[in-house]
Symmetry: C2
Subunit: 202 residues, 2 copies
DNA sequence: AAGCGACTTGATTGATCGTTCAATCAAGCC
DNA sequence: GGCTTGATTGAACGATCAATCAAGTCGCTT
């Protein structure tokens, strides 16, 4: 099995799906960008949808290496890691005139009646992301209120990221992203202050 | 000008774009649902994209009558109105097995390189929504901290709604929506408590 | 050397897409 | 009763799409 051709297809499809979405990307687009011919593509993938599945698997399996590790290099504080991750998305937006956001989120809303397999992969990507945040929140330990539901807050962080990206893209104005992240930061400040009061009371 | 035919097209297109998205809805889909023939559609609209524009204008102009008024009937408290509006989206999700969310958000992420006219309409829809929340926050007066940037918080509410809808749809589990709204509620509780402390200190 | 399986080539298929257009019709006006 | 205008009909068009397939290439095994 010639893994190189397959990999070239997946990489090109990742880019194209991010740029234009799944439906607006034609198989011919993928072929012309990779210099692969249609027969080869269909040798490795039963259909276009299976290319999408491979793309989502690549995101899922590459989150540590391609997203978390770069975003967190040099950042040890678990709370700061959360905002460092958000800042990675900010960079993505800023360097693309607010057109690139979170590819998973875009696909999640673009596909209205996705295959169960595709939907599971989208959910798995969200799940990995949320769990990464969850680990940060666990690592923050007593800096956050004891009673705080850390899993919920992790889901909330994903929510804020996706909503902020959506608005920044729609308005083509990164200010919408920044202000939303600032609001989340203030929420964390409130939580940390609350934990401080708990510590004093104890 | 026969406004009835035009209106039928826009109504059907609103439903179809919500169900299947813009690109997955064919002109033939709209025609078969409306019993209108293609020539009639193209008599009123230069093209499919202009149908989308009309749909977005209908959402923009109908937000008061079709979204805010129903959600707020019987709810006077401005803070409760915010969560009543969120609850309207919850109902939409719950009664559709978590497939229907916010149609504007879906379109905003589906269309990667939208016409400026379409993008402006998407932004105008977000803007109307945000301003409605903003008015509630202004009406809340001293119950919120004096220094609080109410416009920012209004944008944040939209962010949370869109992010929560996205996760609920992807996981096909309304729990994700509920937990995110609960987190926002806790944020408001923290803000209101902070305003209380301000009042006591004064 | 022969055979085999993995992979590549690229023309081709048939379906579907958005859009066009000549025609017909109905209603109102001068 | 001609003329205009607005609206409707539905067949047809060209483009584009995902997908197919027969032919060919290459490397590896026996």
């Amino acid at each position: 099995m010639n893994a190189d051709t397959r990999r070239k297809i997946v990489v090109a499809a990742m880019d194209l799906f991010s740029e234009k979405g799944f439906q607006s990307t034609s198989v011919a687009d993928i072929l012309s960008r990779t210099q692969v011919h249609s027969g080869s593509l269909y040798h490795f993938f039963p259909g276009k949808q299976d290319v999408l599945a491979a793309v989502l698997e690549a995101y899922r399996d590459g989150i540590e290496e391609w997203l978390l590790a770069p975003a967190w290099s040099g950042v040890e504080d678990p709370v700061e890691r959360i905002f460092a991750l958000l800042n990675a998305y900010r960079t993505l937006l800023a360097t693309s005139d607010c057109t690139y956001g979170c590819p998973i989120g875009s696909l999640a809303l673009e596909l209205h009646e996705p295959d169960p397999a595709i939907r599971d992969l989208l959910a798995a990507n969200f799940e990995n992301w949320t769990q990464a945040i969850h680990r940060c929140l666990e690592a923050a330990g007593e800096r956050l209120p004891a009673a705080l539901d850390r899993r919920r807050l992790a889901e909330f962080v994903l929510t804020v990221m996706e909503g902020a990206v959506m608005q920044a893209r729609t308005y083509r104005d990164i200010g919408y992203f920044d202000r939303n992240v600032a609001m989340l930061r203030e929420h964390f400040d409130l939580l940390i202050r609350e934990a401080d009061r708990e510590a004093v009371a104890a």
